[in-house]
């Protein structure tokens, strides 16, 4: 694994710059004696959209929680814009420009949508209207239903409220834990587009996703986390094309089905005469 990682030690175009956020040999866990993260090295450069994928229980959520001061860090460090932020509490991190959308329970159910967003900027209430405008250009639905209780919203709508809340403080790094979980395919696409839009607005994003293919398609760089270590890293395309990553983490079923569908579509349109092969599925995206 170490070899693979080394092989992918990507000379990205951003190499010369200092990352906005990076972790060095991060070790963390919940129960004494049990490390969930075993030396995690993950970095994000300014303006990058970083994906983290990996099997269930790999420690993806734990990584985000460790960065966000919610899990005790046993060794290693985290730096934000050159400052050591290892072990800082969430409220300090929010004021330093880190935003987080947890995987579960990410809204205040008895508060209205507007109040949820207000809580997002508890530390800077004066800027509310300005930030509210920015957030509602990305999520126009929120402005329309600002008085509705968040607890009565659907899962997808809650996800928007949660992201909106995290964006209120104008973070420079946004941590997203499975933003597309539980959404219909169309809603998932919509969510990824919005994440992309947020990223284009200048926010560095670190996004954990189970929807690995879609995630790799839109992110600049990605990490595969396995058993608390970054097992593979590279650009989204590189990982999508890596047969090992495909076999171990992406699954082959989706690729085969994609290929199959493409082949049918092609033959129906009469553009190809021969049978399409699996290569269609892994063709450059």
């Amino acid at each position: 694994m170490a070899d693979t990682t080394a092989a992918y030690a990507t000379p990205s175009p951003t190499e010369t710059r200092e990352p906005v956020l990076y972790s060095t040999d991060l070790v963390a866990g919940y129960i004494p004696g049990v490390n969930i993260l075993n030396g995690c090295n993950i970095s994000a450069y300014a303006g990058e959209l970083i994906g983290i994928i990996g099997p269930n229980g790999a420690g993806k959520s734990t990584f985000l929680k460790a960065v966000f001061g919610q899990v005790k860090i046993r060794s290693g460090s985290i730096h934000l814009k050159g400052d050591d932020i290892t072990g800082l509490k969430a409220d300090k991190l929010v004021s330093k420009g880190v935003g987080m959308v947890p995987q579960n329970n990410n809204v205040f159910p008895t508060l209205s949508i507007e109040e949820n967003l207000e809580m997002g900027m508890f530390q800077a209430p004066k800027l509310f209207s300005e930030r509210f405008e920015f957030v509602t250009t990305i999520f126009p639905e929120l402005a329309k239903r600002r008085k509705q209780r968040a607890g009565s919203l659907s899962g997808g709508e809650r996800q928007m409220v949660a992201m909106g809340r995290a964006l209120m403080m104008d973070p420079s790094v946004l941590l997203l834990d499975e933003p597309s979980a539980g959404l219909s395919p169309v809603r998932q696409d919509e969510t990824f587009l919005r994440v992309h839009q947020i990223n284009r607005a200048g926010v560095s994003v670190i996004m954990v996703e189970q929807n690995a293919r879609r995630c790799l398609q839109i992110c600049d760089r990605a990490y595969v986390l396995d058993q608390g270590k970054d097992a593979y890293t590279g650009t989204g395309r590189e990982l999508l094309r890596d047969p090992k990553v495909t076999e171990l983490y992406l699954g082959t079923l989706a690729a085969d089905v994609d290929a199959d569908t493409k082949a049918r579509a092609d033959s129906a349109a009469g553009t190809t005469t021969g049978t399409a092969t699996g290569t269609a599925g892994v063709a450059p995206v």
Binding site: D91, M100, N106, V107, E118, M169
Partner: protein, 444 residues
């Protein structure tokens, strides 16, 4: 999460409980040290270890019409050859010293009541009294306006209803305190009853014993009450949360604190029942019902405070953050809210409201060392009835409980009225398990 109580070893908990109780006890002792029982202006004989043996056992009580003490009413105490009649003094209090522990009967002599005043429960004017481990036993004979022959039931119900509203409103102040603490920390605070007693006793001491005017004695009582809230969080519950002590363990700590505080109060106040003198005993007729000015003022104050609390929770930044912490403490922290600070504010606010509730309850009934403990269950019932953790629910629950307990006394014996409240609670929970205003959050 650092802000949640967690599981911990029983040893740590026990030590923490002991230390915490001692701190709270010492604090109370310091405060109460200002008012040792002997300094209180009570005409009833104080049990004193070196005194005449025969006078250390007494049976006594207080006879009032609403808030007004009645003078010259006779109560006959009999038992095992002993027979004596006690007469109420100017303060409505009667006392009969008895030879020693044993079984006695106390009988209200209804003929000695003034015109127009009758026992509220004419069937039950003879009470059995047993003196055992305590030296002093209080017997209450509730009386009220009316005559036995012409007793207009509708008027009685209306009067009771208005008193029930008053009682419900003052209960609501305490219940919202419980609800806010439960909401933000998920802790059931059993010491809440003593916070009620504390407010009443401090107010009694500064207002009635020392005789300071209301605008001085009430702020003092509220400020000291607020301080107990600060102290409980700063010296007890925040350290327990920090150490990761579990919710059940923390609840047991509050039970210990409750018992300790109650007996510290008993030690300084003594076992007697005291009447608060507000100087507001004039009565006003509302249609056929008659209530005192004190009750009207009490209702006005409660309503004003409840409105202020409502505005605080819905309009202010800190109030909204309080609701956010109740909804989801870790998300609140992740949003940049300092959860410990919000919890501190909630404790102080809750203790102040509860102290005020105690002041009003002391005026509504009397002051004694276990007054808060007696209504603790009603407070919990109000909070549960309305929907756990919802401040507005606590208000509705408290009003229901207050009115039901007071109105029920029209038909059932006084002693059973709190049982009625609990029956209502059980019935409501069977129909709406989440409480009257509690909501089931949608899942997914």
């Amino acid at each position: 999460m650092p802000l949640m109580y967690r599981r911990a070893s029983p040893v740590v908990t026990t030590i923490a409980a002991t230390v915490a109780s001692m701190i709270m006890g010492i604090m109370l002792a310091v405060l109460m040290g200002l008012s040792p029982a002997s300094a209180a202006t009570s005409p009833s004989p104080e049990p004193s270890p070196s005194g005449d043996f025969t006078s250390t056992f007494t049976i006594g009580g207080l006879i009032r019409d609403g808030d007004t003490p009645i003078e010259g009413v006779e109560v006959q105490v009999e038992g095992d050859g002993f027979d004596e009649v006690g007469v109420t003094g100017e303060d409505g209090r009667w006392t009969v010293p008895v030879p020693g522990p044993g079984a006695y009967t106390a009988t209200l002599l209804p003929d000695t009541l003034p015109e127009g005043i009758v026992p509220r429960d004419p069937e039950n004017i003879t009470r059995d009294v047993t003196l055992g481990t305590t030296n002093t036993v209080n017997v209450l004979f509730p009386t009220g306006e009316g005559t036995v022959v012409e007793n207009n039931i509708a008027d009685t119900i209306l009067t009771r209803f208005i008193y029930g509203l008053n009682f419900g409103l003052l209960l609501a102040l305490g219940a919202i305190g419980i609800s806010l603490i439960y909401g933000t920390t998920k802790l059931n605070n059993f010491a809440h009853g003593e916070m009620v007693t504390f407010g009443a006793v401090i107010f009694f001491f500064f207002g009635t014993v020392i005789g300071l005017p209301l605008y001085v004695s009430i702020p003092i009582a509220l400020a000291l009450s607020a301080f107990t809230g600060y102290a409980q969080d700063a010296w007890l519950h925040k350290p327990l949360r920090r150490r990761g002590v579990g919710l059940v363990q923390a609840m047991i700590v509050t039970i210990g604190l409750s018992i300790l505080a109650r007996y510290v109060i008993l030690f300084f106040l003594g076992g007697n029942i005291y009447t608060i003198d507000t100087g507001l005993t004039a009565t006003i007729d509302i249609g056929p019902a008659t209530i005192t000015v004190a009750s009207l003022v009490s209702m006005g104050v409660s309503i004003l405070m409840l409105i202020l609390v409502g505005l605080f929770l819905t309009r202010t930044r800190i109030g909204k953050a309080t609701r956010a912490v109740s909804d989801n403490a870790s998300l609140a922290a992740a949003s940049g809210i300092n959860v410990d600070r919000i919890i501190r504010i909630v404790w102080i606010l809750a203790a102040t409201l509860t102290g005020l509730s105690g002041i009003l309850y002391g005026v509504f009934r009397q002051v004694n060392w276990s007054m808060g403990f007696q209504i603790l269950l009603l407070l919990f019932a109000a909070v549960t009835l309305g929907g756990l953790g919802s401040a507005f629910g606590a208000l509705v629950g408290a009003l229901i409980i207050g009115v039901v307990t007071e109105v029920s006394t029209v038909w059932i014996p006084n002693d059973l009225r709190y049982a009625v409240a609990l029956i209502i609670l059980i019935l409501v929970l069977l129909v709406r398990p989440q409480g009257v205003l509690g909501r089931k959050e949608r899942v997914g």
